[in-house]
Symmetry: C2
């Protein structure tokens, strides 16, 4: 079994090790929730200060042109594109993943008139499925039929178990059946080399592995083959052919701009821009290799102390490791109290996310050791860990 | 005619004069575009720094609880409520005005089945009308018929002319005809004592007179009488009865939370919170009185040099003054070049916004004098002012 010194040695040899210094992380805490909210890049505070004081403060309304705010949905979209295997002019940034899902599924339904089934995974993050109730008949992918489906909406990586779909294989199968493929990459972008280039639509958020900040802008990718025909149900003025002509009726813009809606949340974009400055220097193959190594190590070190909920094959999972525990809530509370931050998802899932840019091998060792001691000493049975917070 | 010294004296006696010191404004420029993007409160930069470094940096994912991020759509909504005559539990903040319009009109259409007309003003800010194309048959308010309308969507203050509707009168007339009234208060909130309490829905933005920052969160107000029956077409997990139960199907939350959608843009909320700290100390009657005085003074001082596009009666306009000019674009460019910042709206409107918290009477005098000189010397005919920017 790998020991603590071996982990320290692996950290020394880690080609990504310098990135950890670029994050502001609390001392003496092991943060394994980067799959939920990424840590702040050290440059984020300065970039946001700049947006407030230098851009808003100096340019005032002129910032829409002079500071590039107006173009943010497109310029940031272009910067996100390489992270999902897309090209320039294919991605818009803004709003939230829920809203992007709504746009993608509405567009897909109109591209496939006569088909009224939407195939989903009941394990999708719930908001994906909630947002599209009423747009079609929802059917679980378990039934395996796509021939009457307008589209299939799946999360590349399952938010509970970390299980990963085979994107090329599923995309091909769905498209062969005449349905459109929509991928939600919230739980994979920034953790592995996402490639949804063949898919019809993709959506995702930027505040998990991408470290864009709480509530950072989401994104929507539309395959070039659909950009001339797909409709944006949220037909706001940003997607108009000539937004500043203030015409009475809506005329769709050409290209990806058609899928923008309205005014970007400029200050939230600013923090994301700081994160993207870093991502432009990251090799995604190194990210994926380290992610597989970190997660496999954690699984090995925890051993049979907990029942694994994630796939054991690293190729089949994202960058998180989940375990089942019937008293998962107090177990996680006890772990957090002892410096290991994972999270709990009802009814019985303990999640640990491994963000390769700032998680070290020694963090994995320390976390696994803490898990072992908390379980062995049954610390989680203490009364104080049973109290439920409003939001977990 | 009021002279410059009289304006300086009026500034001395202005009960709102201390607020100007709370804004970061460029020296030697007269900023009359607060009706488009408000100036930054001096506290905004510090509040946003706090959100990045103290909240995100220290609490990381715990910020959703510990820093109150999760509740932002509701807590900020409650703080906005008094600015539009609403009470607690009636307003949610987030997303954009376009999206709030889409939610409100969709909800209204479902509350009035069998009626498929949406009455709008063709002079609404275009995105309002664009967003709802396809949700019903759009008809202009000029036709004056509401008996087959599901809802009426109007902007309290016209973005081009500053003309103001009589909100209680129109609301009563619409509701008597069995239609629902939706007000867009983007161009009135923070400029006058908005009261949409009798209306069915209201939407608005917070980055104009409210100074919430570029792309600050929008808001949606739902009258309590509709909260149990109205549906949110954007049924994201935030509006679920139990968001953290991660149930497979959508169950609507009770109350105003039903109208939230998904993750708030936390850093954009932070700047708005700084602005609201200030608004809690503002007397809206003083704002309205000063707004009427500033706009009337500007109209008087400009005199017949320009053709007035705004109503002459201050009760019938918001806090902006617009003029027609066939060469409005180069005229505005020349004014900006000489330190007076208004804006131009195609085809022929010059707009000047007067934000009572930071615009002084002497600014009005100086601006009017500049207008007079630029027109008299025909400076706007210089070639350099004719070049059109991409975004104006």
């Amino acid at each position: 079994m790998v020991d603590r010194l071996a982990c320290l040695a692996m950290d020394q040899e880690d080609p990504l090790r310098a990135f950890r210094e670029e994050f502001a992380l609390p001392e003496d805490e092991i943060y394994l929730v980067g799959n939920s909210l990424g840590a702040p890049p050290r440059t984020a505070a300065e970039r946001v200060r700049q947006a407030v004081e230098d851009e808003w403060g100096r340019h005032l309304v002129g910032g829409w042109n002079e500071a590039g705010w107006y173009a943010q949905p497109l310029t940031t979209g272009d910067r996100l594109a390489p992270l999902i295997g897309a090209g320039p002019g294919e991605v818009v940034a803004g709003n939230t993943t829920s809203i992007a899902v709504y746009q993608a599924v509405n567009a897909a339904m109109r591209l496939r008139p006569g088909r009224d089934v939407i195939v989903v995974d009941r394990g999708n993050f719930p908001t994906d499925n909630y947002m599209i109730e009423g747009l079609g008949e929802l059917r679980d992918i378990g039934e395996g039929r796509f021939d009457d489906a307008a589209c299939v909406l799946l999360s590349e990586v399952d938010y509970r178990t970390g299980a990963r779909y085979d994107v090329p294989e599923v995309t091909a199968r769905v498209q062969e059946a005449g349905a459109l493929m929509i991928w939600d990459v919230c739980h994979s972008v920034g953790a592995l080399r996402v490639d949804v280039s063949a898919a019809d639509f993709a959506v995702g958020c930027t505040y998990k592995y991408l470290n864009g900040g709480p509530g950072a802008p989401a994104f929507l990718r539309v395959h070039p083959r659909h950009q001339a025909t797909a409709e944006n149900v949220l037909s706001g003025w940003y997607g108009h052919a000539e937004p500043f002509a203030f015409e009475p009726g809506f005329r769709r813009a050409d290209g990806i701009r058609r899928f923008t809606v309205s005014t970007p949340h400029v200050l939230s974009f600013a923090a994301l821009e700081a994160a993207l400055d870093m991502w432009e220097r990251v090799d995604l193959d190194q990210v994926r290799a380290k992610s597989m190594a970190l997660t496999s190590l954690f699984i090995d070190l925890v051993g049979d102390r907990l029942e694994l909920a994630s796939p054991r094959d690293p190729e089949r999972r994202g960058s998180q490791v989940s375990f089942y525990h019937h008293d998962g809530y107090p177990v996680m509370r006890a772990l957090i109290d002892h410096g290991v931050h994972g999270d709990f998802r009802a009814p019985d899932i303990l999640r640990f996310g491994f963000a390769p840019l700032y998680t070290r091998y020694v963090d994995v060792w320390n976390a696994a050791q803490t898990v072992a001691e908390v379980l062995e000493k049954e610390l989680w049975r203490e009364d104080r860990y049973a109290v439920r917070l409003a939001v977990t």
